[in-house]
């Protein structure tokens, strides 16, 4: 059976919204953020709670969300692979809708990453593989774990730390125009390099912000989307992929390339039946500045070793060949912990023509997300038109 059966524009995102505000939300718990985003997304779709029969979320039981909202689900997905989980939910929901296992799926995210309201405490497991073989060395916080392979990536390509800084600079140019972004002051390469070192070679602006927020998506069949008041703003899923590599960073087969990015993006292109030339816009999950460089190369938008200059030469900013992370990304926009939901939201906004920093003529957007520290990946090809 072909993996294309759930694609080909047969499933649409008909509702997409973030929480009313993002950044600092001491007024809302994790559950409250999920629910606020869910209500906003359903309103956006022109649907109500009673229309929803499928629920997906990550980091919290899906039944906790469905019950909180008053949904009786006949389809649930609690896939948790890290920050890209929501990309996998979209992919799984599309399969469920195509198979008739659900009619309207709600995907929710909410995290109180900054304020910690109603959040589960983080408990270290010293007997886990990471607890035995990485964390004892200080490889526990994302900034001292996810970042470890970066110097090898740069070294093997003749690239420098300045290329990391260029990523932060390029993404900030998008955030300047975005009133919801956490970091909005323009920066130079010298500013980024001169900032406080978090974990050499990463300075503060090469690391994501830490925020509160949420987002939600409503998916249904393209057929049903045609009958909704939101039909003119529907966004169609043309292709998708998912994959995983190692649960610990040290076991990447090649520290300079993320196998799950390669596999998940190749499957998304294959199932969409599109090539790189068809992509107008790219959301590349960026908890840290090296990730868009990996993503550009691993998804095949540029050749090996070309990512740094591609960014430094302005190809990813306004007017560039491939606008990347146009909300400012995790580095400048927001990052509540699992950023993937915000990457999808920005792709949807761009395709609808409703983004804060709108790129003209975005017909097809590619979203590539990472889960945990180079552990899992998900990819989506989203489009304004069903085919």
């Amino acid at each position: 059976m072909s993996a294309t059966s759930m694609h080909g524009g047969r499933v649409a995102i008909v509702g997409a919204s973030e929480t009313d505000t993002i950044g600092k939300r001491p007024d809302a718990s994790v559950l409250g953020l999920h629910a606020e985003a869910a209500r906003n997304a359903l309103r956006d779709a022109g649907l109500t709670i009673s229309d929803v029969d499928g629920i997906a979320t990550a980091g919290i039981y899906p039944q906790d969300i469905s019950h909180y909202l008053g949904i009786t689900p006949r389809w649930l997905d609690g896939t948790l692979v890290g920050g890209c989980s929501f990309l996998l939910h979209v992919r799984h929901a599309a399969a469920a809708i195509a198979a008739g296992a659900a009619d309207v799926v709600l995907v929710t995210h909410g995290e109180s990453g900054r304020s910690g309201v109603g959040a589960d405490p983080w408990i270290r497991n010293p007997a886990a593989i990471s607890g035995q073989f990485e964390q004892p060395y200080g490889a526990q916080a994302p900034y001292s774990t996810f970042t470890v392979p970066a110097l090898r990536f740069l070294h093997d390509r003749g690239m420098t730390v300045e290329h990391l800084a260029h990523v932060a600079v390029a993404q900030r140019t998008w955030a300047v125009d975005n009133p919801r972004a956490a970091r909005r002051d323009p920066v130079t390469v010298a500013d980024v390099l001169g900032g406080p070192t978090i974990a050499y070679p990463f300075t503060r602006d090469m690391c994501c912000v830490v925020t509160d927020g949420g987002g939600a998506l409503v998916l249904t069949s393209a057929e049903r989307a045609r009958d909704l008041p939101s039909t003119n703003r529907a966004v169609y899923l043309l292709g998708s992929g998912e994959s995983a590599e190692s649960s610990i960073v040290s076991q990447m087969a090649d520290p300079g390339s993320f196998a799950a990015f390669r596999h998940a993006s190749a499957e998304a292109f294959r199932t969409a039946g599109l090539t790189h030339a068809d992509i107008d816009h790219f959301m590349a999950y960026d908890a840290f500045a090296h990730l868009p460089l990996y993503a550009l190369e691993d998804a095949g938008f540029v050749g090996r070793g070309e990512s740094g200059d591609f960014v430094a030469e302005g190809n990813t900013v306004k007017g560039g060949r491939l606008p990347v992370n146009t909300n400012g990304g995790g580095l400048s926009y927001t990052h509540s912990g699992m950023y993937g939901m915000y990457a999808i939201q920005e792709a949807v906004r761009q395709l609808r023509g409703e983004a804060h920093a709108q790129v003209p003529g975005v017909d097809v957007s590619f979203v590539l997300g990472v889960g945990m520290f180079f552990a899992a990946a998900g990819s989506l090809v989203l489009a304004r038109h069903p085919a």
């Binding site: 073989f133 004892p136 200080g138 916080a141 470890v148 392979p149 070294h155 974990a199 070679p201 520290p255």
Partner: protein, 136 residues
């Protein structure tokens, strides 16, 4: 060294038992004739269970690293940590700490030759690496 102390499991205990003796021990697949890491009962390449523990030479090269300026408690927040990815001469890669060198990039060229050392960490001895002693 006080920090995140590991807790061995039945599958990983031989690794930690060897470390307690001052040996770095890694599993070897007899089918593939290849070492693998992290410890688990079957070879991740062929699935074979004909595997044995072998003490390795303890020599490695520096693949990549960060200098962590924000160690979390109970680590000493004032002491930058060199969190490093190293590759053993026998092939496997592992995360480790680099000791015996200033935590500064000029002292940490990639591919630097390293040798294993052991530090006490709670109830276990933790393999770490230091720059290889240069013959006089």
């Amino acid at each position: 060294m006080s920090g995140f102390e590991p807790t061995p499991t039945p599958e990983t205990a031989p690794y930690w038992d060897a470390a307690a003796r001052g040996d770095l021990s890694v599993q070897f697949c007899l089918q593939c004739a290849r070492h693998y890491f992290y410890p688990r009962p079957a070879c991740p390449r062929c699935g074979g269970e004909s595997v044995e523990w072998r003490t390795v030479a303890g020599r490695a090269r520096l693949v990549s690293y960060v200098i962590n300026h924000r160690p979390l408690p109970p680590f000493d927040a004032t002491v930058p940590q060199i969190v490093a990815l190293v590759e053993l001469d026998e092939g496997p890669r592992m995360m480790t700490a680099i000791v015996g060198v200033e935590p500064a990039p000029e002292h940490l060229p990639l591919d630097l030759a390293l040798e294993v050392a052991f530090v006490d960490c709670g109830d276990v001895r933790l393999p770490v690496f230091k720059p290889m002693a240069v013959a006089a």
